[in-house]
Symmetry: C2
Subunit: 120 residues, 2 copies
DNA sequence: CGGGATCCGTCGCGATACTG
DNA sequence: CAGTATCGCGACGGATCCCG
């Protein structure tokens, strides 16, 4: 991979590398959700962070924000086609993780235990 | 994607979502490099961050750190098979970015200009 | 219900200097 | 050459209160 593409990859990582974006995308892939439903689905996110996260995702055209004028207010969030295509790539990352997470944790334990590399 | 897998994805993101890990992995995919060569290849990284980054990647078994006892000291970093398999997934992310970055930047410009969604 | 505004802690990261 | 130690800042993110 040529170095120029690093910058591209950094662009995506800067966008989805934050704490909540990927989770929101994943939860929204099952279908549109309203604000508080999405908040419950994500679990652990605060209103502030959800609000900021969906705005950034909307800004990048990864999801749409639809306001239904009614009382009480009703706002639905849904992935765009682009958002869904990104989710497909993220799914590959999930698959990779499922294949490797156990080994990784083993590695980490051995590394922390031996602190090898220090003398061996 | 079920919610339990969010946690898995968060695990990877926490690992490679930092500023330098993906770049180091990309540069190392072309072949092993010594510390300062890697530092030059990454461009912009400080010694401190490179040192911390490679240690975490080594800890997770994504790369190996080989010390050749000589004067001057000679340390080579190389991706493991697992590191290379991760790089393949990251390459998909790069491909996705190449396909979408222009559109994303368009979206962002329109979003910032109109601040639509506020009234429309 | 769906947010915005504010305050504040943490920690990732950069710059610099020093070491074996 | 290949790191480590120290310092400091700024962004990210959590908690809380307030509003239409």
């Amino acid at each position: 991979m040529p170095a120029e593409r690093d910058l591209l990859l950094r662009d995506v990582m800067d966008r989805i590398g934050d704490k909540w974006s990927v989770t929101v995308i994943c939860r929204l892939d099952d279908g549109p959700l309203r604000f508080n439903a999405l908040k419950r689905a994500v679990d652990g996110i605060t209103q502030r962070m959800l609000s900021a996260t969906v705005r950034r995702l909307e800004r990048d055209g990864l999801l749409t924000r639809t306001v239904h004028p009614s009382v009480p207010p009703r706002v639905e969030y849904a992935l765009t086609d682009r958002g869904r295509s990104l989710h497909r790539v993220l799914a590959e990352l999930v698959a990779w993780t499922e294949d490797n997470l156990d080994d990784i944790q083993q590695c980490r334990k051995r590394f922390d235990a031996g602190e090898y590399g220090a003398h061996a």
